[in-house]
């Protein structure tokens, strides 16, 4: 029966994010925190594996200010237990630090595992790096961009999105997989599942529990500045009856002069 670890990142909801009108910096405190989208696809896939093959699903979350309520959401979706490492230095974390911390959480708290499943990229950084870096640390194979998955007796068959179409690949566990939104639709937990999640273990960890020293939380890639991209568009708005709008739309398209008559 496979033990599956799912790495879940809490990020701001980038859809709500507005830049500061003058500095153009993102106003992070005004956007709600949420579980990063693809990480919930990862969790859903892990729970489906458990439903079919048994085993357990462990969620691990590391961040500057982890919200326990969001971790409970993961437990309500079907994870059995969760480990949390919340440390303010992680606000500056790069992929190196993040993968170091997650690997320590797995090593010290999860013990034996068969699969690590991550979202292919996070909602905020979108770097596609955590899964492959974890695989490198544990010296195991990884498969990114998985859109369909079959697990049987220590062998993973995965369909991954590549430029040419879909590559079907196979590897042995232990392995790391990263998934996007194509693989499934994450379930919405029922009230019963939400209530049951209150009793599941959610363990908060300290640096000493993980053998982490301050140096290990120091990023190799240091963020200097984040600024909104500005687009210069004419922003002309048309409103009215469908007939009028259709007429104006056709005129606007033809006025561009790119359509060959």
């Amino acid at each position: 029966m496979p033990d599956v670890v799912v790495c879940v990142k809490q990020t701001v909801d980038v859809y709500q994010l507005k830049p500061h009108p003058e500095t153009l910096a993102p106003q992070l405190s005004q956007a709600q925190p949420k579980n990063s989208d693809f990480d919930l696809n990862a969790l859903e896939e892990a729970v489906r594996i458990k439903e079919k093959h048994g085993g357990r699903v462990v969620v691990i979350t590391a961040g500057a200010e982890v919200k326990p309520l969001l971790v409970r959401e993961c437990l309500a979706m079907g994870a059995d237990e969760a480990y949390v490492f919340s440390h303010r230095d992680l606000a500056r974390a790069d992929g190196y630090v993040t993968s170091t911390v997650l690997s320590k959480m797995i090593e010290k708290k999860v013990g034996k595992w068969d699969l690590i499943i991550c979202g292919e990229a996070s909602l905020d950084e979108g770097a596609y790096q955590t899964g492959p870096m974890l695989a490198e640390i544990f010296n195991v194979p990884h498969v990114s961009y998985v859109n369909r998955l079959e697990y049987e007796d220590g062998v993973v068959k995965a369909w991954k999105t590549v430029e040419e179409g879909v590559a079907v690949v196979r590897c042995r566990t232990p392995a790391v997989l990263t998934v996007g939104l194509e693989i499934n639709t994450p379930r919405l937990p029922s009230l019963l599942m939400i209530r049951a999640a209150q009793k599941k273990p959610l363990v908060e960890l300290k640096p000493e529990d993980l053998g982490l020293n301050p140096e290990m939380l120091n990023p190799l890639a240091e963020r200097q500045q984040v600024k909104a991209l500005k687009t210069e568009r004419r922003r002309k708005i048309f409103e009215g009856k469908p007939e009028e709008l259709a007429e104006q739309l056709v005129e606007t398209i033809l006025a561009e002069g790119v359509v060959k008559k």
Binding site: A221, T252, V259
Partner: protein
Amino acid sequence: MNVLVFGEKLEQLAGLTSFIATKLRPSTVYSAIFDEPKEQDVSVLGGAGADKVISLPSHIWAGGAAQAAAALSEVVKKLDLDLLAVYASKTGLEIAPRAARRLNAAYASESVSLETADGGLLASRLVLGGGYVSTVLLKTRPAVVSMKAVGETGAFSKKPAVEKFSLSVEAPGVELVEIVKPEASHVELEKAEVIVSVGRGFKKKEDLAMAEELGRLLGGELGCSRPISGDLKWLSEERHIGLSGKRVRPKLYIALGISGQVQHLVGMRDSRTVIAVNIDSNAPMAAESDYFFVGDIYKILPIAIQKLKEKLGR
């Protein structure tokens, strides 16, 4: 500075080699290939600014991303290089972070710019759904970046020597079973002058026929936001425009029923003119459009298509 450049396809490798050679002006640019390069490939890389071509065993490439990462890391270590730059194809984005971790190196994924600075290399990349630029200082030597940047490939006239690297790597393998190619014909959205793009405003797959017809009338290609190809699978992945799909820059981009999530915007932001039709005047697409039509695509499109047919005589 000495740099190793890798791209899985020759044009990607040459493009990124030229970008690095032009932008960073390193003393030596090495271009890596998992094969024995043909003479003409070597001359293409010379034209792109490569001083040396590193030839690596092709069986390593067949072993998957972990082995490729191990081999490239080995070259970086043996030649004592300052930077590994990997073309950010989907596979490149699997190799680069593994190599960075292996080298204990700072890494910037999908960088859009790169320059030397005090204390390391300064890379910028798009974050927060593609709406923001983050600047990061890569403080280690070596450092690793992945980029889609390409420079002019005929800008140099170097005659690089080929250096054969025979190395054995210890890294876990992934076995390729098969590649399933999509049934749809090859679409080159990147080269289209007109793109008609569809989003969640369409309620059924059959309704996309309206957008297809508009596209045909305008001589354009059909594109879409991620839910249409990903969740709903109404169109093939090769028509997906956005952060994890294609980046396009047509002369005319017509967004139909696309609200304008940041992940989509990053894929179409370089379009010359953007026209959008959306029922919601508060949709983020409004700020990203030159001409924004507030209305129901189901009412406007049939009339507009009829009018276009009359005007164009098609």
